[in-house]
């Protein structure tokens, strides 16, 4: 009855059981894997990745239309069932937020009056770039998303990506019109953070679980935290702006602090890429000054001053 696969017609491969090709290609894959261990940032690979993201972004945008529709319908069915509960929670939250708003307004006035009093230089403000999530790695061990903004929109590798609730991740590949965001839960994600009120700084390390963990450098003092304390980017190392909200402390086991993220990756749809120029020392003028100084003392080189690397 079942004659599937019994007869040979021409497919793409004429020599059907070319084991040789199969084994050869397995070897090629393994070689690729080994080489990407050592040269993950090689320009050929990088170009290929960016090219593929760019090429796939129109198709992914097209696919995400019906998918979002289906998700919307599925989501609203769920919403009907707990609308009362949500309403109550929202009302409570609203009341709380109003209190905060009043406090913030007061503070804003105070800060404005202080600013007026002093010769105050504001840090550069970030220029957010809005983008939609058009793809994501639905993979057990890779946590990333593809957004539809690229170099054409001034997106660059290393920039922070936030949504309404907090930090989502950071850009690791920037194509022409689409880029990849490495999420905080990916095993490769390392974000310098600090815990508000606990006076500790550390590195937020992703581990593919939904809750990443803050780890500290060896030999650092024991950190004492309480659940509920806020975790924010520290800006150490000059990678991300300081003070982006990430989440709250969930629990602590000795020196491992588990963080509950604000970002809900199952709901992340619209994000903002933060195009933040760090307040850097102007490279040219100090270099000239250093060169002049070097000429005077005869010792110093004319290297541009290095930004302080800490963390």
């Amino acid at each position: 009855m079942d004659y599937l696969g019994q007869d040979r017609r021409e497919g793409l491969g004429r020599k059907a059981h070319s084991r040789f090709v199969l084994i050869l290609l397995i070897l090629v894959s393994v070689l690729l894997l080994l080489s990407s261990l050592y040269s993950a940032q090689a320009s050929v690979f990088k170009k290929a990745r960016e090219g593929v993201i760019d090429a796939a972004s129109p198709v992914l945008s097209l696919l995400s239309g019906p998918i979002n529709y289906v998700n919307g319908v599925a989501g609203s069915i769920g919403d009907y069932f707990n609308v009362m509960e949500q309403n109550k929670a929202l009302r409570e939250e609203n009341a709380e937020l109003r209190q905060w708003m009043n406090e913030a307004l007061e503070l804003r006035e105070t800060v404005a009056s202080y600013d007026a009093l002093q010769g105050y230089v504001a840090p550069p403000t970030a220029q957010p770039i809005s983008a939609f999530v058009i793809g994501e790695a639905n993979d057990a061990f890779a946590r990333s998303m593809i957004v539809n903004a690229g170099r054409a929109n001034n997106v660059e590798v290393g920039q922070a990506v936030v949504d309404a609730s907090g930090l989502v991740g950071r850009i690791v590949e920037a194509g022409g019109s689409a880029s990849r965001v490495l999420l905080l839960t990916d095993i490769q994600s390392r974000i310098p953070v600090y815990i508000e009120g606990a006076d500790v700084e550390g590195i937020l390390v992703g581990n593919t679980r939904s809750n990443p963990v803050i780890s500290f450098t060896a030999g650092s003092d024991e950190a004492v935290t309480e659940p509920g304390q806020r975790v924010l980017t520290s800006g150490a190392g000059g990678a991300l702006p300081r003070g982006l909200p990430i989440g709250v402390v969930a629990s602590q086991r000795r020196n491992d602090i588990v963080v509950d993220l604000y970002a809900n990756y199952a709901r992340t749809r619209m994000v903002r890429v933060i195009n933040y120029a760090f307040p850097a020392i102007e490279p040219e003028a100090p270099a000239d000054a250093a060169a002049a100084a070097g000429a005077q003392t005869g010792e110093q080189t004319a290297d541009a001053p290095q930004p302080p690397a800490e963390g």
């Binding site: 599937l4 696969g5 019994q6 007869d7 040979r8 017609r9 021409e10 497919g11 793409l12 491969g13 059907a16 059981h17 070319s18 084991r19 090709v21 199969l22 084994i23 290609l25 397995i26 090629v28 894959s29 393994v30 070689l31 690729l32 894997l33 080994l34 080489s35 990407s36 261990l37 690979f45 290929a48 990745r49 593929v52 993201i53 796939a56 992914l60 696919l63 995400s64 998918i67 998700n71 599925a74 769920g78 999530v133 058009i134 790695a137 639905n138 993979d139 057990a140 061990f141 890779a142 998303m145 593809i146 990849r180 490495l182 095993i187 581990n207 679980r209 990756y265 199952a266 749809r269």
Partner: protein, 170 residues
Amino acid sequence: MGYRAENLLRLFKAMAPTMLGVLGVLVLAAPVRLFEGFAPTPIFPLVIVFFWSVYGPDYLPPLSVFVIGLLQDLLTGGPLGLWPAVYLFTQFIVMSQRAYFLGREQKVVWIGFGFASLGAGLILWLVMSLMSGALLPVRFLLLQLAATVAIYPVFGAVFKELHRRVLVEA
């Protein structure tokens, strides 16, 4: 039908499984978040690789499998060569057991697919654990594999009709 049209049709038929695999990768890369992300997206390309490795290896030669895997690597941002290795290894194992699968009931083939997925998952986990230097949590992987195995009967039936009525016949 003209000679040229017939040739085109033949090419299309020969390419169909490969194109399906590419489409599977694209769907896998799309933000499908059924039930708020609680249901992981099945690994569609694995179903396609398995099916055509059993029923029509001529239609999905190793090079096609390699390309499908490489595309998935490039789109998910993982290390290059990971998914080609997983898919090609699956194809290797399945093709060595092909004589057993042919003519069996779908239930038996389904169980075979379960074992093949477990093998693929094991390779994936081993490679990623080696690369990250720590034993990675397997919960999400197992869920995703379960989802993939769960959809096999549906996709298997559809692919069977497609293969028998469109690709091989006529």
